[in-house]
Amino acid sequence: MAQEPLLSARGIVKRYGRVTALDHADFDLYPGEILAVIGDNGAGKSSMIKAISGALVPDEGEIRLEGKPVHFRSPMEARDAGIETVYQNLALSPALSIADNMFLGREIRKPGVMGKVFRALDRAAMEKTARAKLSELGLMTIQNINQAVETLSGGQRQGVAVARAAAFGSKVIILDEPTAALGVKESRRVLELILDVRSRGIPIVLISHNMPHVFEVADRIHIHRLGKRLCVIDPKEYTMSDAVAFMTGAKEAPREAIAA
């Protein structure tokens, strides 16, 4: 690819005590693509994703967003830079309402004195946006936008988390196992959403164990093994069994893919 990567990482190292989770790992995300990240359990996928989403500060290495080096010390900083993440545990506050959750950390305040002096939240505006975003995802089976997230089913919670990312992600959206808790139909909807987001020009990083889903939507597949990027393959040139073989070390990774 001749294009400049939108988000790239070089030589990322992260150690937890004596365990090295990331061992000089690299990462590249190009504009407008869907990049799937796959790897066996413990390969360091989650640590890699956390490093680029600000949830984890790497010990070594460099991360560049649009060519400029960035140093995220918290998820907030990554979010402010336009990187939005849906974590596997969803990161929702169960006792808060759907609208409160969607706007957690970026609340809208009322205009004028009520907002400036009394810091009052503009509930009406937040609820309106939340409702609109959920409808876009076909999630309006939720009747009451003010109901607490803990009263929703697993799939609905996932929907709220994905809607939050889709609503605010301006540069990159990272989805960690977005279909793990979903039924067949809901998974399909999330995949449609992923393609829809890409058509708006926003690149997506998709971490998934579901090979059919990965091969269906991904433009490129980043295979993580033993704390580093093993190779990047094109899903049209390799089969699912090839990918699994590379991922588990059953097969030597293709030479040209390592360079990519």
Binding site: G32, E33, M76, R106, R119, L121
Partner: protein
């Protein structure tokens, strides 16, 4: 980048049958709920309802048994005066407990602040207004140390505040040399220290400024907790700190600000305490920590954090006040009061567990 699949085309064999699948969306609340379930759901969305109901019932009960002796403007406002200090400290405790913490040092911070206000005026001859500010500052500083140890050093709140309780209380005795400043001296030289002891009377109803301050404080905090981002973050941090952090809340800064504000409110309680007892005594308010936790728990605020309303705490404090005065007017042994309060605490937590099981 091409789109080889076309957005909505199911590419996997097993998904082809989805075309014929039911188009109905999952619906909720369709089945009729039993009255009990509806009541449970109501309580789930209105956490202050249980203590309010208990408060009204206990008022009615004592009113029926005692008649006019209890149901007079004087007695009812006397209850308010008696719970004013616990109510203010309870507001501080509420903030901390909502973040899934606990503050055992509230009473000690309150007493130390009141001693600082008194001693700075009388020992160093500072203007009393400045001494009050110093007292408030000391309270906020104690709270900040609690918050720092909890958020940055990552020690459990119970341990931090257990230690700080002893440290602050000992500092209080060492610094004050166990010396009480007499009410007469305060009234003559620094009446501002007794500011919260002033009152407004309507007939036989007596509202001290301390009572008014408590009610205003609770209302302000209710607004802050429910209608500002900071307040929502308090709940989010108590609910699930990891989720709050990942969704963009600065958890450490929130915890430090909560403990600092809690310390500041305790210092305010210390000022109100001077108004209530008239003098500055380093031995006053020994049980404020336990009483404030009692008010919070009876008020239906979960000790696991993230759930409950500060109005519940106020009702909880009032329930304790109603029982204390009612039973005293009945002439029973005061131990009955403690026994009943113990029962209330256990029932309150049992009801909290039941309400948490609600779904939908």
């Amino acid at each position: 980048m091409g789109d080889p699949h076309g957005a909505a085309q199911p590419s996997q064999e097993f998904e082809k049958v989805l075309v014929d699948s039911s188009k109905e969306v999952a619906s909720f609340d369709a089945h009729e709920k039993t009255p009990v379930q509806r009541f449970q759901h109501f309580l789930h969305s209105n956490p202050a309802a249980v203590p309010l109901i208990v408060l009204v019932l206990s008022l009615l009960l004592f009113g029926m048994v005692l008649g006019g002796k209890f149901f007079s403007a004087f007695s009812l406002t006397l209850i308010l005066q008696q719970v004013a200090i616990v109510g203010i400290v309870g507001a501080a405790q509420t903030l901390v407990i909502l973040t899934a913490g606990i503050d055992l040092s509230v009473g000690a911070i309150m007493v130390l602040s009141s001693v600082v206000m008194g001693q700075f005026t009388f020992r160093y001859g500072l203007p009393p207004q400045l001494a009050v500010l110093c007292g408030l500052g000391v309270g906020a500083l104690c709270g900040y140390i609690n918050g720092f140890l909890v958020a940055r050093v990552k020690l459990p709140p119970f341990i931090v505040t257990l230690g700080m309780w002893q440290i602050i209380l000992a500092s209080n005795f060492l610094y004050s040399a166990n010396e009480t400043i007499r009410g007469q001296d305060i009234a003559n030289n620094a009446p501002i220290l007794q500011f919260f002891g002033n009152n407004i009377r309507f007939g036989s109803a007596v509202f001290t400024y301390g009572v008014i301050a408590m009610v205003l404080l609770v209302l302000v905090l209710w607004y802050v907790l429910n209608h500002t981002a900071w307040g929502r973050h308090v709940y989010a941090v108590g609910d699930d700190p990891d989720a709050a952090e990942l969704s963009g809340v600065n958890v450490k800064r929130m915890l430090i600000s909560v403990y600092t504000i809690s310390g500041l409110i305790c210092a305010l309680a210390g000022w109100a305490l001077i108004g209530r007892i008239g003098s500055v005594s380093p031995t006053a308010g020994q049980f404020a920590n336990i009483e404030s936790i009692t008010a919070v728990v009876i008020g239906g605020i979960s000790l696991f954090g993230g759930r409950g309303s500060i109005l519940g705490m106020l009702f909880g404090a009032l329930i304790v006040g109603v029982f204390s005065l009612g039973l005293r007017l009945l002439g029973t042994d005061p131990q009955w009061t403690y026994l009943l309060i113990g029962l209330l605490i256990i029932s309150a937590v049992a009801i909290d567990q039941w309400i948490r099981k609600v779904a939908g």
